[in-house]
């Protein structure tokens, strides 16, 4: 039984899923503040609905104004929930071989970027400020050995834990690749030795 697409679309056959992460809830604070204001407006509207209906009866201009406000309010409700769903869809996935950043929204975006653990040179955890230290979130920067590119995961919750996890997975992966490389090298040497004749000369005939 393979692990292909077991946890996420694009998971490879022998790839083991370790964990996934989303952004810290701090990125949604602004949206929830707006929601509270919106709910207060809805509450006062519903509390005074009789007065509003009195004003609207027979007044075409006020009805148009109310319809516009109603449309904007409806639009806002949908926008809020779509933002919440987009928050859930955007994930960072850590497996035994790579880190995958999946930037997805409901309608507009769907992009995946993966980094092989063996290509990671340095990992940096940035947690500057009062809120990051109090709430335990931060940015994780991954420096690649093959190029000067830097991959940043922003607003990572429990940043210390994810920093340690990525470091350990990187070490395991690089040790595994080093072992495989040594095994291949020793097999190549063994093949060379077995190709030699008992007198020490190669069994291969020289080309004429």
């Amino acid at each position: 039984m393979t692990n292909r697409d077991k946890y996420f679309k694009g998971q490879q056959d022998k790839e083991e899923f370790v964990c996934f992460m989303r952004q810290h809830w701090i990125v949604l604070v602004k949206e929830f503040i707006y929601l509270i204001v919106f709910l207060l407006v809805c509450y006062f509207t519903l509390a005074n609905i009789d007065s509003i209906q009195e004003v609207l009866r027979g007044n075409r201009e006020m009805k148009l104004l109310f319809a516009t406000a109603f449309f904007i309010g409806t639009l806002y409700i949908h926008r809020f929930f779509i933002k919440i769903f987009n928050y859930f869809l955007q994930v960072g996935i850590i497996t035994d071989t790579r880190i995958v950043e999946h930037q997805k929204t409901l309608f507009m975006k769907d992009s995946m970027d993966s980094i092989d653990m063996a290509q990671i040179q340095n990992i940096e955890r940035v947690g500057d400020g009062i809120l990051p230290n109090l709430l335990g979130y931060g940015h994780i920067k991954i420096f690649l050995s093959a190029s000067s590119a830097v991959k940043t995961f922003q607003y990572v919750p429990n940043a210390k834990f994810h920093f340690r996890l990525i470091s350990r997975q990187k070490e395991i992966r690089q040790n595994q690749l080093a072992r495989e490389h040594r095994q291949v090298a020793s097999e190549a040497v063994a093949n060379e030795v077995s190709n030699l004749s008992p007198s020490g000369k190669s069994n291969e005939t020289p080309s004429q």
């Binding site: 697409d5 077991k6 946890y7 996420f8 679309k9 996934f20 992460m21 989303r22 809830w25 949604l28 519903l46 609905i49 209906q53 609207l56 009866r57 075409r60 009805k63 148009l64 109310f66 319809a67 109603f70 449309f71 409806t74 409700i77 949908h78 929930f81 779509i82 919440i84 769903f85 928050y87 859930f88 869809l89 994930v91 997805k104 409901l106 309608f107 919750p157 429990n158």
Partner: protein, 74 residues
């Protein structure tokens, strides 16, 4: 039926359609991705996207009911 009522009903129907479309996108996503949610991946350590899908549906339903009542009593 007045222009105002027609407009309100059109907005209501568009809202319900949008809710259905968004829910279908969430279902399609869940078919491809099977992450096991733990405390630290939930919003405020409690809510998953399924919770919010239910809250969204209830919100839109209440919105429709109140709008219908408003139009009938106007």
């Amino acid at each position: 039926m007045s222009v105002f009522t027609t407009l309100m009903i059109a907005i209501l129907l568009a809202s319900l359609t949008a809710c259905l479309f968004v829910s279908s996108r969430i279902v399609a996503y869940n078919r491809k991705y099977h992450f096991n949610e733990i405390t630290y991946t939930r919003l405020f350590r409690i809510f998953t996207k399924e919770h919010f899908a239910i809250i969204y549906a209830v919100f839109i339903l209440m919105h429709s009911v109140f709008t219908t009542w408003f139009l009938l009593t106007l």
